[in-house]
């Protein structure tokens, strides 16, 4: 599904990713771990198409198609979803209206009929249960006045509504208490299928107790330096990142 080859990316001429390789197949969950400043969030942003980042070398192939030149909305319509580390508050835009616009633009792109008000509401009600999000929250402006946990649940709710093929969760566990973490993880797990894939970017092993990865990659200074199964995360938790840095 996703094949990243020798990816170099920079922001304001500062190189962050320095030759990264990653292959993700349908049905898989990958965890990207690494210390602060190693390029984890950059990787998430570059896949989603954030325009401040420049891909200077390498390729991002998604279903065999190079997507580096696609805009963020085009990538989203192709099925890429980024759950933000810091979801943005947008006063004045109602959450429901926003999600409806997004869902229908994505459906239109896929050649599906846009949802009318009634069927949209039905789908919405169904997905709301998944992350335990209340109607009242969705009638407010996007993320405005939401608590940290509500913001993250709203991200997963949007993910459920858009039904992406590739979901990237950027430090979705940051700022969550243990109960919220469970709710968010339950949502993510419920959306897992053999047709889609998830990339989980995180600092800590804790999240991986709930969203169990098939592969764990360690990202240091813009490169993946070690890959393994879920036990690698446990080992990291115990020994710290210095363990790998020293070995390299």
């Amino acid at each position: 599904m996703l094949e990243i080859k020798n990816l170099h990316a920079s922001i304001e001429n500062k190189g962050i990713l320095k030759g990264l390789n990653l292959k993700v197949n349908a049905g898989e969950v990958h965890a990207i771990m690494g210390p602060n400043g190693s390029g984890k969030s950059t990787l998430a942003s570059v896949i989603a198409g954030r325009e401040e980042y420049e891909v200077t070398e390498g390729e991002i192939n998604y279903f065999g198609k190079e997507i580096s030149e696609l805009s963020p909305d085009e990538r989203a319509r192709e099925g890429i979803f980024l759950a933000f580390q810091y979801p943005v508050e947008i006063p004045g835009v109602s959450t429901t209206n926003f999600i409806k616009t997004a869902v229908n633009q994505v459906r239109e792109y896929r050649g599906e009929k846009s949802l009318d008000a009634v069927s949209f509401l039905k789908v919405m009600k169904e997905k709301m249960k998944l992350v335990n999000i209340k109607q009242e929250l969705l009638s407010r402006a996007i993320n405005e006045g939401f608590s940290g946990g509500e913001k993250k649940r709203n991200e997963i709710f949007q993910m459920a509504m858009l039904e992406p093929k590739l979901s990237i969760l950027d430090e979705t566990d940051s700022g969550l208490d243990i109960d919220a973490l469970k709710i968010v993880s339950r949502g993510v797990n419920a959306l897992r299928s053999i047709d889609n894939a998830t990339v989980v970017v995180t600092h800590y092993q804790r999240l991986l107790d709930y969203i169990v990865p098939d592969f764990v990659h360690v990202l240091i200074e813009g490169k993946i330096v070690k890959s393994g199964d879920k036990n690698l995360a446990l080992e990291l938790e115990e020994k710290g990142y210095d363990w790998i840095k020293v070995k390299n």
């Binding site: 963020p72 909305d73 979803f81 943005v88 947008i90 926003f98 997004a102 633009q105």
Partner: protein
């Protein structure tokens, strides 16, 4: 520069001895009024641009109006309407509700004239603003509008001003709300020619005790010049709310001056501008708290497109006697391009000591992070920008209480933003 303001022709046409005296007085003090021009029009080269076009700022001597010519234009407006062509009230084209009396000055009875003159020029800014003084000298047939005591007119009245002249057009009206009266107006200016004309409008408004006024203005002037001065005096327990929405115009200059004379006055001044097609929109407002316990609430927001300009200048005065005043003012701007410009200047002068006042302004660009967030959900760039801009404007239109009126103006603004976003 002043020498070339040729308005003596209109002065000589005035026949009414009382009006002539008033006009002569202001004419003789033009040079002192003009001395303020430089400061008040710092970013708005109004005078220079208009002078280039006109040798004389005198209007045409009033010609016969053919109502038929305008019926088609008027068909898209509210059924209740007050139509003014080149400054002259046209009863034939108007449709007024009970409780609202409208007449041009020359058609008033002698007694009414005397009453009218008690208000006329009492509040206008002709001693401060050169274009107001020129209006005072040049206008013919001031429109007298009065709302009866206790009249409660719940349907909005459209004031439709039509400019059908190659020469400058002057509009002047005096609106009096008697005790306990309530009314809503919306005002439009329609240019028959799409470009290069100049209209100058001065409105004086008196709110008597317990009266309530809503006043909406939509300004789509194409490539024409427009000067608009609204001067308001409020008495005890009265409420006024202004919504000014400006979109296109070679230059639009709005003066909105409000005097809160007595206790418990309440005024709302709201504005939104979406400036495009190399237009310049200048809003100068002032609110003067003269007595205790009054509230003023001002919020102007705007989006400025490629090559366009906006100016905001808001003054709040709180006089020594005006204790327990609440005065708020805010101006927020979004520049859509490197070639868009805004000059904003909030001013606050307070002499009283027990007051709550705030003012501030912001100038920024579209929030890139918010834009990325919307786009990352599959919404295309153009629609994402539209969502953000309409959210930005909704803070102003949300203030409109009447649901139908609110959605009407939201639609108007949305269409204008859509065009701005298209460019």
């Amino acid at each position: 520069m002043l020498d070339s303001i040729n308005i003596t022709e209109s002065l000589s046409r005035e026949k009414d001895p009382k009006l002539k005296e008033i006009k002569n007085n202001i004419h003789s003090s033009l040079s002192s009024v003009f001395s303020r021009y430089k400061e008040e029009y710092k970013f708005t080269p109004f005078f220079r641009r208009i002078q280039k076009k006109y040798d004389s700022l005198s209007p045409e001597s009033s010609k016969e109006i053919e109502p038929k010519n305008y019926e088609k234009i008027l068909s898209s407006y509210d059924s209740l309407r007050l139509v003014i062509v080149n400054g002259t009230f046209v009863n034939k084209l108007s449709n007024l509700p009970k409780g609202l009396n409208v007449s041009s000055y020359d058609k008033l009875s002698n007694e009414e004239k005397e009453n009218f003159l008690n208000f006329y020029t009492q509040t206008d800014d002709s001693n401060d603003d050169i274009f107001s003084s020129i209006n005072l000298i040049s206008h013919e047939g001031c429109v007298s509008i009065s709302v009866n005591e206790g009249a409660f007119i719940d349907k909005k009245i459209s004031i439709i001003n039509i400019i059908d002249s190659a020469l400058p057009s002057y509009f002047r009206k005096c609106i009096i709300l008697r005790k306990n009266a309530k009314i809503s107006f919306s005002e439009d200016f329609i240019y028959i020619n799409p470009t290069g004309n100049f209209s100058n409008s001065v409105t004086e408004i008196f709110l008597n005790e317990n009266s309530n006024l809503n006043y909406f203005s939509v300004q789509k002037m194409n490539s024409n010049f427009h000067f608009n001065s609204i001067n308001v005096v409020q008495n005890k327990n009265s409420t006024s709310t202004f919504h000014t929405y400006s979109f296109t115009g070679k230059i639009i200059r709005n003066n909105l001056n409000i005097k809160l004379m007595d206790r418990n006055c309440y005024t709302n001044m709201f504005g939104f501008y979406a400036v495009k097609n190399k237009s310049l929109v200048d809003n100068h407002t002032s609110v003067d708290h003269i007595n205790e316990n009054s509230i003023s609430n001002e919020h102007y927001k705007g989006v400025i497109g490629e090559g366009s300009n906006a100016v905001f200048n808001g003054k709040i005065f709180v006089r020594q006697k005006a204790q327990k005043t609440n005065a708020f003012q805010s101006n927020n701007n979004i520049l859509l391009s490197d070639n868009a410009k805004v000059n904003t200047k909030p001013q606050l002068e307070i002499w009283a000591d027990d007051v709550k006042c705030s003012h501030g302004c912001t100038v920024g660009q579209l929030d890139e992070e918010a834009l990325f967030y919307l786009m990352s959900r599959g919404i295309n760039r153009k629609d994402s920008i539209s969502l953000l801009l309409s959210a930005f404007s909704s803070e102003i239109t949300e203030k409109i209480e009447d649901e139908n009126i609110r959605s009407f103006y939201q639609e108007v603004i949305l269409n204008e933003l859509e065009e701005l976003n298209h460019d």
